[in-house]
């Protein structure tokens, strides 16, 4: 395998750690399996027993250990196994113990007529099925040099007669063996059950939270299976009535653990194989059905032939998973898949050894089930993957957040750019609008006034006073335009104030008292600047007319606004004029101008003049103020 290009990220680190753990594990598990060397060991391995009991075929036969016999009927029977063995002188004097490698059905053990151990065995009410080693210390002096007799009396209800390997010898040495064996067979099973239960909870929980995470579901199934399988270690003895169910549960656990594992591994490799899931589930379901049917028909809970075939089938399904794994390892070279591969192969090997053991063929010196050694490893790897997946998802999330932040930043910049652009466009538009407005003003006001003044001057019909008046009115108009162009937000009140400020000294100089009243004018009148200017022109021209022609003593300007309209009333106490005549003559241009401006504003202009004075009234309908 090429190590080139591997990065030292967490995932890789976890994978390598798992591989190292695997090696350590295998070494330490097989260390418990050192082959016996009778000559140098301080114990005696009992080789044969004489088995006797009712309905045992060929009762009184001498059988080699371990005994693994099947019987056809299923009823409670009492059994007795007697072993005779020789003990050397040296061993008899030391502190000794009896060590049973794996005991299924319990029983009472007596050595040379003295009871040394009593493990619950089957009776009318319960069925007992241990899968664990036992160690009984022997009273001092009980083990004799030379010939000794060990007897076991027990009962079975199952259709299987089992006698384990038995060793008698130095207590120190055998207890070490016992401890080691007990650790791998029981303690590890309990530890791994707890791990499995936690994993099952987490994985199934993740599946519930995120139903797309199907792989988690299968890991959960595998862990649940292992937990069920290990009930066997926690629950003996089992009441007779519940025993078939207990056994079914056990089988379901045995099926779920590898099946969940295989399906998860295949999924984790990225292969979507629904048919594989169906075959796996079908195989497990088929066996459980056969078991239950057999139990209903025969009352037997053991299937001597079917069980090994079924177990082998589970391993065969594993070959497919291994094939997928090999392909994935070659393609992706990820440590997790290497770890899966190692575990899958180990699982199949140990599973095969265990099936052989169940059928009475002990292939290793180690007499217990070996799948126990692989299962914790499997769940540790699963834990590691859970952690790596989690850290990966956190990393992915962080990367995603960074990416989002970057995108957001880019978008913000884009928005700012657009806003700047929009402002620019608005400024340009405002400038263009202002320019158009000024042009219009020049056209309507100063321009036309200058043109008509020019025409009159050309005709030579103007007196110096008339020229003065014309130029003054041009300057006034220009000032009006300047006053309204400074700030488009300027209110009408301000513009009128400026007009008053400019006109009042002139009126004063002419001896005309000005009465000015703008109290009724709202400060925030919604009047656009385009409308203000013609309005102010009307006011300015009316005042100028009074100044020039009326010979008035007082001039009154009153401006008021309501929601609906703006009213401007200008009146003087001057000599007045004939409105009809004035609007028809050339000098009446001023009046026509007023009318024109009022029309362009959409305002109504009323002019009334008599000998006692002139009243000009302008009414401008206002646009509806925006609500609020």
């Amino acid at each position: 395998m090429a190590l080139r290009g591997w990065k030292y990220d967490l995932n890789r680190f976890a994978g390598v750690t798992v591989l190292l753990l695997c090696l350590l594990w295998c070494h330490s598990a097989t260390a418990a399996d050192q082959p016996d060397q009778p000559n140098s060991q301080p114990f005696v391995s009992i080789q044969t027993v004489e088995l006797s009991g009712p309905s045992v075929p060929g009762t009184g036969r001498v059988l080699e250990l371990p005994v693994h016999e099947h019987r056809s009927e299923r009823k409670l029977i009492e059994l007795k196994a007697v072993a005779r063995f020789e003990v050397p002188q040296a061993m008899a004097s030391s502190e000794n113990a009896l060590y049973l490698q794996i005991l299924h059905d319990g029983g009472v053990f007596t050595l040379n007529g003295v009871e040394v151990g009593n493990i619950p065995t089957a009776d009318e009410k319960k069925t007992v099925r241990f899968i664990r080693p036992f160690l009984f210390p022997l009273p001092a002096g009980l083990l004799r040099a030379g010939s000794n007799t060990l007897e076991r009396r027990w009962s079975v209800r199952e259709n299987q007669i089992l006698v384990p390997r038995m060793y008698v010898g130095q207590a120190d040495f055998l207890s070490q063996r016992f401890e080691r064996h007990f650790f791998w067979q029981n303690t590890m099973a309990q530890v791994s059950s707890v791990i499995a239960a936690v994993i099952a909870l987490i994985r199934l929980g993740l599946f519930v939270l995120n139903s797309k995470a199907r792989a988690y579901f299968w890991i959960g199934i595998s862990a649940t299976g292992w937990g069920l399988l290990n009930i066997a270690y926690f629950l003996p003895p089992v009441p007779v009535a519940l025993f078939p169910y207990w056994h079914l549960l056990l089988y379901m656990g045995i099926s779920a653990m590898p099946i969940g594992g295989w399906i998860f591994v295949v999924m984790d490799c990225g292969a979507h194989k629904p048919w594989f899931q169906k075959v796996c589930l079908g195989w497990a379901g088929l066996f459980c059905t056969i078991y239950w049917l057999n139990y209903l028909l025969t009352g037997q809970t053991l299937l001597p032939l079917v069980t090994p075939v079924w177990h082998m089938g589970l391993s065969v399904l594993g070959f497919y998973a291994i094939w997928v794994l090999i392909q994935t390892v070659r393609a992706r070279r990820q440590p997790r898949h290497v770890a899966f591969l190692v575990i899958a192969v180990s699982a199949i090997v140990t599973g095969t050894i265990d099936v052989a053991l169940m059928s009475g063929h002990q292939l290793l010196g180690f007499g217990g089930y070996t799948l126990q050694t692989v299962a914790p490893l499997w769940f540790i790897v699963v834990c590691m993957i859970l952690v790596t997946d989690f850290s990966k998802s956190i990393q992915a999330q962080q990367a995603h957040q960074r990416e989002l932040a970057t995108k957001l930043d880019a978008q913000r910049q884009e928005i700012e750019r657009l806003h700047a652009f929009e402002r620019q466009v608005q400024q340009k538009q405002a400038a263009a609008h202002e320019r158009a407005r000024i042009m219009q003003d020049m056209h309507d006001g100063l321009g036309s006034q200058l043109v008509s003044s020019l025409a009159m001057a050309q005709g030579g019909e103007l007196t110096p006073q008339q020229i003065y008046d014309l130029l003054r009115s041009c300057i006034d108009d220009l000032r009006l335009a300047i006053d309204t162009s400074t700030d488009s937000r300027d209110s009408l009140a301000l513009a009128l104030g400026n007009l008053r400020f400019r006109m009042e000294p002139r009126l004063k100089a002419a001896g005309i008292a000005l009465k000015w009243n703008t109290q009724g004018l709202a400060d925030d009148l919604p009047l656009p600047v385009e409308q203000q200017l013609p309005l102010l022109r009307v006011v300015q021209e009316t005042i100028t007319n009074t100044l020039k022609h009326a010979q008035a003593k007082t001039l009154s300007v009153s401006v008021a606004s309501s929601n609906a309209e703006l009213s401007i009333d200008i009146s003087d106490d001057g000599s007045g004029f004939d409105v009809k005549t004035a609007s028809q003559t050339a000098t009446g241009k001023g009046l026509n101008g007023l009318n024109k401006r009022a029309r362009s504003l959409g305002a109504a202009l009323h002019i009334h003049s008599s000998a006692s004075g002139t009243q000009v009234r302008l009414l401008l309908p206002l646009p509806l103020a925006p609500p609020g």
Binding site: R472, I475, L478, R479, I482, D483, T486, D490, A493, L494, L496, G497, N498, R500, F501, R502, E504, P505, R506, K508, A509, W516, T518
Partner: protein, 250 residues
């Protein structure tokens, strides 16, 4: 309008102490100097001064250099100053007068009376302004008003002054705390009354109407305005110093 009630706690300063006696009521006429480069306008202004018995012409100059020389020998009480002069900006002369003849008053003469020009002239030290096309009678009237206490300002100019004193008006400008050195102290921000007077001018009220609305005298109104002009000047000087420091000139 409770805000218009006079507050005796804030009496106007007696600005008239620095001014010459009111035109017409004193024996001596008010001396006026003209700084204007356009011949016709200058002549029209000269004749307006000659026409009024209460006024006398100190001198008439066409550029700043000439005006400064003449001012040293023929100091006037009121200076009428055009802004666009051939050798320098009229505001420079206004500043020069403010620095060298603190008892004299400067009036700006402009074509349009637009607030931009006026306010910058007030910041230089001017205390009133005239429109160039003002008829002779109006010129004399404005000078008389100025001498009496204050010549009126337009609503637009009042508004511009209010904007000038608005807090945070310009991010680059010095903060009030930076300006509030012992030399100018509270002079840099408007008092409530000064603010109020400007607001009423902005609304188009005359001095008489303001005096009536606030329950104070005409002189008090113009006194407030003089103080506003002074603050404008101090503030603009402070800003100039500040800017000079920022640029490393000082």
């Amino acid at each position: 309008m409770t805000m218009l009630v006079a507050t005796p706690a804030d009496p106007p300063p007696d600005i008239r102490a620095n001014l010459p006696a009111r035109a017409g009521s004193a024996v001596l006429p008010v001396s006026v100097a003209i700084l204007e480069d356009e011949t016709h306008v200058r002549r029209s202004m000269e004749s307006a001064i000659h026409a009024d018995a209460g006024l006398s012409l100190a001198f008439s100059a066409q550029n700043v250099k000439e005006a400064k020389q003449l001012a040293l020998t023929h100091a006037a009480q009121v200076y009428l100053v055009d802004l666009g002069l051939p050798d320098a900006d009229g505001r420079e002369f206004i500043r020069w007068i403010a620095a060298n003849q603190p008892g004299a008053s400067s009036m700006v003469v402009t074509v349009f009376g637009d607030d931009e020009h006026i306010v910058s002239s007030f910041a230089a030290g001017a205390v009133g302004y005239l429109l160039k096309d003002a008829p002779p009678a109006e010129i004399a009237q404005r000078i008389a008003e100025l001498v009496a206490g204050g010549s009126p300002i337009s609503p637009s100019v009042a508004r511009r002054m209010l904007q000038h004193f608005m807090p945070g008006r310009n991010a680059g400008a010095p903060t009030p705390s930076q300006l509030a050195s012992p030399s100018h102290g509270e002079l840099v921000s408007l008092s409530e009354r000064e603010h109020e007077v400007l607001r009423l001018i902005e609304k188009g009220l005359t001095y008489d109407e303001i005096a009536q609305a606030l329950g104070i005298t005409w002189h008090t109104v113009t006194g407030y305005l003089r103080r506003v002009y002074k603050k404008l000047e101090v503030r603009s000087r402070g800003e100039a110093v500040f800017e000079a420091r920022q640029r490393g000139w000082l």
